[in-house]
């Protein structure tokens, strides 16, 4: 399968899973693969209709779906997070990212689920 086909398939199945879970037509408006100059890479999935309390209540399930999605795209599922609109319950995107060393240090230094007001960490595997 080409990368675009894999992304298309992953978007649809993640969207279906979230809808089943939450009982509303949560919408994954766009799924992008990205590569940053620093060396980080991964996927970002822009969401509409997903909110922080959904994430808090169903975190275990959402984390599993996102982990499966990352794995299906050959992305190491070691750093998964949501980006929020600061000060609100609105989730702008969910992300699976393979961190470069320098970004790993930035996130590794912080603690807790929300190192910044706009980031909610679902999974951050510390390196040995």
């Amino acid at each position: 399968m080409s990368m675009t086909q894999e992304l298309l398939k992953a978007r649809t199945s993640l969207e279906n899973n979230l809808r089943e879970l939450l009982g509303v037509p949560v919408f994954l408006i766009e799924m992008d693969a990205f590569a940053l100059p620093c060396g980080c890479g991964g996927v970002t999935i822009n969401t509409r209709g997903l909110q922080l309390d959904d994430l808090e209540v169903f975190e275990e399930h959402i984390l599993k779906y996102l982990t499966d999605t990352a794995t299906s795209l050959d992305i190491e599922p070691s750093f998964l997070f949501a980006r929020l609109i600061p000060g609100t319950a609105e989730i702008a995107s969910i992300n699976a990212r393979v961190l470069c060393n320098s970004c790993y240090m930035d996130f590794g230094r912080g603690s807790g689920k929300q190192p910044r007001p706009d980031i909610y960490i679902m999974r951050f595997d510390r390196r040995k």
Partner: protein, 344 residues
């Protein structure tokens, strides 16, 4: 019928638009944000020579040109001597280009335009004229036309009272699709006005109001039905108020705009209502609302007193007609709203 149609702002877009339909009475577009911005996002910021070229072209096709300068907040800059001089200079240039009408939201600009220039003065929806009293004030300030706040598009008593009160022209915006009684309206347009105005421009990460607006509809899709758009089929119900209708959507592609022009000109649309609605285009691929199944709903809206928790009509209608798309590409299916979800 006079249709005012959005124009995305460059010459190629205008050629394509005017080649695509004979049903366009006037086009409107933003001007340069250096002087007065607009209360909405724009795709272009045409300079005066471009406005002149496009106006000449529109006129050669028998189509009128309207410039929209409907910033809802200029942070007081228009009231400073420098601000006044810059705006006065800009209005003067637009006037000599031969612009037919200018749409503004600030009462000060309504009066300024009415006093010194030949262009028709149009009061924007962002002036929120929803009562005969407000309409009267704007008429006294010099308004030639008032675009009535779509919040009252389904309050025929108010529309009729406004019509009876003023002798200036009225225009109705048919497809804006903001939430009915939207709590974000003022804040959102003020935000846009700063983001699209003379500056300093805020460096904004995300448009909170837009996210919130979409979330509310996704969680509660009856909000899409309640929002006060006017279906093409229902224009006839408004003909005793006005014959002038405005289509919103200056950030869409020309074929989207033309699809709307044909639907409203023919007073009929057989597709998904979502195709016609501006401002919630992110949800176009989420919901399917067969437009013709809304035939007759206007009869309820005409007599409805808008106490939704007692009435429940829009909720029942939403449950009946709205479908959501599931899957993607070739595998896309329409499923009834109620069939989604299985709370664990």
């Amino acid at each position: 019928m006079k249709l005012y149609v959005p124009h995305i702002g460059h010459f190629e877009g205008l050629e394509e638009l005017l080649a695509g339909s004979d049903n366009i009475y006037a086009v409107y577009m933003a001007g340069s944000p250096e002087y007065v911005g607009t209360g909405r996002t724009n795709l272009s910021t045409p300079k005066l020579d471009e406005i002149a070229q496009q106006t000449e072209y529109a006129h050669s096709k028998g189509v009128k040109m309207e410039i929209v300068l409907n910033s809802s907040c200029m942070g007081g800059q228009h009231l400073t001597p420098e601000g006044y001089r810059a705006i006065d200079w800009y209005f003067d240039k637009l006037n000599s280009i031969g612009i037919d009408s200018i749409t503004v939201a600030d009462p000060y600009l309504v009066e300024m335009l009415a006093k010194d220039y030949d262009m028709d003065v149009v009061v924007s929806v962002l002036s929120f004229v929803d009562t005969p009293q407000k309409a009267e004030f704007y008429e006294q300030l010099g308004a030639t036309t008032i675009v009535v706040d779509p919040a009252v598009n389904r309050h025929f008593d108010k529309l009729e009272a406004i019509k009876d009160t003023v002798s200036c022209k009225l225009k109705l915006l048919v497809n804006e699709a903001c939430l009915y009684q939207c709590p974000f309206r003022y804040a959102h347009f003020n935000f846009f006005s700063h983001a699209n105005g003379p500056g300093p421009k805020p460096n904004v990460l995300d448009d909170y109001y837009y996210y919130k607006c979409l979330s509310l509809r996704i969680k509660d899709p009856q909000q899409i039905i309640k929002s006060p758009w006017i279906r093409p089929e229902d224009l006839k119900e408004y003909k005793h108020i006005t014959d002038t209708f405005k289509i919103g959507g200056r950030t869409h592609f020309v074929n989207w705009i033309l699809n709307n022009v044909e639907a409203y000109a023919n007073e009929r649309y057989d597709g998904n209502l979502m195709d016609l609605l501006d401002s919630i285009k992110d949800l176009k691929d989420t919901f399917y609302i067969p437009n013709r199944e809304l035939d007759g709903a206007i009869e309820q809206w005409k007599k409805c007193d808008k106490v939704c928790h007692k009435c429940g009509y829009c909720k029942r209608l939403a449950e009946k007609v709205i479908h959501t798309y599931s899957g993607s590409g070739e595998d896309i299916r329409k499923i009834p709203l109620g069939s989604i979800g299985d709370r664990i």
